[in-house]
């Protein structure tokens, strides 16, 4: 039996899954192949941004409760900026990398990969950064290989 992949989700992917059930984000969150992870800081930002977008906050809460492991970031905001700024192009995204560091996933999914220094994230945290569709393509490949072997 193939083990589930631990995947850290950027907030844009989580919100995308709430908007479209035909999108790759929704498909990824509904495959049994992944163990989704989000940080406690992201949980706070998701609640506010989902409200501002006029989306169903109950759906977000149910999604997080039922599917996600919430990784606690124990470092302070100044410390996040100090330690994780080198992994991002936009300093406001540093807390996402703090979440990756805290949760140690195999993969990181985002629709904003160009804002992250993905080679450095891979080197230091061993997490491969992909878009949701790319990760689904990889999962499909793994499934086909396990059928053959």
């Amino acid at each position: 039996m193939t083990s589930r992949l631990e995947v850290f989700f950027d907030s844009d992917v989580i919100i995308s899954s709430l908007i479209s059930n035909k999108g790759a984000a929704y498909l990824l969150l509904n495959t049994t192949a992944v163990k989704p992870i989000v940080s406690d800081i992201q949980k706070e930002e998701l609640v506010i941004v989902v409200k501002r977008l006029g989306l169903d906050i109950k759906r977000l809460n149910t999604l997080i409760e039922k599917k996600f492991r919430v990784a606690k970031i124990v470092v302070s905001k100044p410390e996040i900026n100090k330690r994780f700024l080198k992994y991002v192009l936009d300093p406001n995204d540093a807390h996402v990398v703090a979440g990756i560091a805290a949760s140690k996933p195999s993969f990181f999914v985002s629709y904003n990969l160009r804002h992250f220094k993905i080679d450095k994230i891979k080197a230091d945290f061993k997490a491969i950064s992909l878009t949701p569709a790319q990760l689904l393509q990889y999962i499909r490949l793994k499934r086909n290989r396990s059928l053959v072997s």
């Binding site: 790759a24 930002e45 501002r52 406001n92 393509q137």
Partner: protein, 86 residues
């Protein structure tokens, strides 16, 4: 390189694109790994079956990716605004 003006490819064209032998292409069609249609005595492979060659994604996943991207600018604008203020 896939020709985006073509709607369907012959097995020979497909073999060239995938750098496989023609026989292998026929085998993959028989297994269902390449989706093709037999029209009379010949096979034609729709360009969509080979979408992964140019995009790295199977056609259904490419569509799923595109479905999300329609809403992305609004999502990312709100996230950026929130993150900048925090």
């Amino acid at each position: 390189m896939t020709d985006t003006t073509l709607i369907a490819y012959t097995p020979e064209q497909t073999a060239k694109i995938l750098q496989l032998s023609k026989n292998t292409v026929y085998e993959l069609i028989a297994k269902g790994e390449i989706i093709a249609k037999r029209i009379g005595k010949v096979y034609r492979i729709p360009a969509k079956s080979l979408s992964f060659v140019s995009t790295g994604l199977d056609s259904d996943l490419l569509e799923a990716d595109q479905a999300d991207r329609k809403n992305l600018s609004l999502i990312q604008k709100e996230l950026s605004t929130f993150r900048a203020k925090s």
